[in-house]
């Protein structure tokens, strides 16, 4: 299934967001996720079903002012 992950099109097998993170090796413990412009809490990822064309954002802490 094709998804847009952090702006890049990826072909993935995972059907749930937590699985997607594993499949794409987002192994950081400190991630925030959004699906199609809506927040997905870390606790919600196992039940977060993905479908063709979904836009996924995976963010992490960075320097900021």
């Amino acid at each position: 299934m094709k998804l847009i992950v952090n702006g890049e099109t990826r072909d993935v097998a995972a059907h749930f967001l937590d699985a997607l993170l594993t499949e794409l090796q987002f192994e950081g413990d400190w991630l925030a996720t959004a699906l199609n412009g809506e927040l997905v809490r870390s606790t919600e990822r196992p039940e977060c079903l993905l479908k063709e064309g979904d836009r996924v954002e995976i963010l992490t802490p960075r320097q900021g002012g």
Partner: protein
């Protein structure tokens, strides 16, 4: 003692974490500044990477409180979602709300800012809005539930220092009970002292420290200047006068001629 949303802080300085020559220097600068609050952002992680983890564990080791920002957001929607992701990730309801309205000045879009502030306070956030020196905007932000304001004094990273002391003085005077943190535009310790002397409660720094020749020494210098301005405001300063007045007593002066 600085109190922000019920949290008491010993230092009147908040520090940004970007643009330092190295993580080690960032950590030393945080220490030298004596700050109790550091700002961070959220950015895309790269697949297979864990740079976020490394940065995050570094910051946490400093023991300071985290103030996530919504830097780079240009709409209410972006800002609100970024705030929500930050809360989920950092487990804090504090958010430095930035909604940029102009690419050149990086100034806030006060319309989107007030709307986003309302949405976020309704959602339980404790909002730190990056705003202008506009009184009426300040009133709207307070009306939207903000209990802290963060007016700019000059464009972000410009190091120009306070460009409109009259507006800052007026803003301070109109809302004596709202903690106000001057955010953006400070370049030198004297700038920090100047705004603290006006009665502002704290300053938020990043570029002026991170890009200094010696960021650690500069962090310490800003800390001293901030405390100096704060103390001077409380101690009661001499008003400028147009005439000179001798300091040494005139009476008893010898006459030799």
């Amino acid at each position: 003692m600085l109190t922000l949303y019920g949290i008491e802080l010993a230092s009147h300085l908040l520090l940004g974490t970007a643009q330092y020559p190295s993580p080690a220097i960032l950590m030393e600068a945080i220490k030298a500044s004596g700050t109790g609050v550091a700002t961070v952002s959220l950015r895309r992680e790269t697949a297979g990477g864990s740079s976020g983890d490394r940065f995050w564990s570094l910051i946490r080791s400093s023991g300071v409180r985290i103030l996530p920002n919504t830097a780079g957001c240009h709409t209410v929607k972006e800002a609100v979602l970024t705030a929500q992701m930050a809360r989920d990730l950092f487990a804090t309801d504090w958010i430095k709300l930035e909604v940029i309205g102009n690419h050149d000045t990086l100034q806030p879009d006060v319309f989107a800012l007030v709307e986003a502030a309302r949405v976020l306070t309704d959602d339980g956030f404790k909002v730190f809005p990056y705003t202008t020196d506009d009184l009426v905007v300040a009133e709207r932000l307070i009306g939207a539930g903000c209990e802290v304001l963060m007016p700019w004094c000059a464009p972000i990273g410009s190091a120009q220092g306070p460009l409109n002391l009259h507006a800052l003085r007026s803003l301070r005077g109109h809302f004596p009970d709202i903690p106000m943190i001057v955010d953006a535009g400070l370049g030198r310790p004297s700038h920090a002292a100047t705004v603290m002397e006006l009665g502002f409660d704290a300053i938020l720094l990043n570029t002026a420290v991170a890009k200094a020749g010696d960021p650690v020494a500069m962090a310490h210098a800003f800390a001293k200047a901030t405390e100096a301005g704060h103390a001077a405001h409380r101690a009661g300063m001499l008003e400028p006068r147009d005439v000179a007045v001798p300091s040494t007593p005139v009476i008893g002066t010898a006459v030799f001629s």
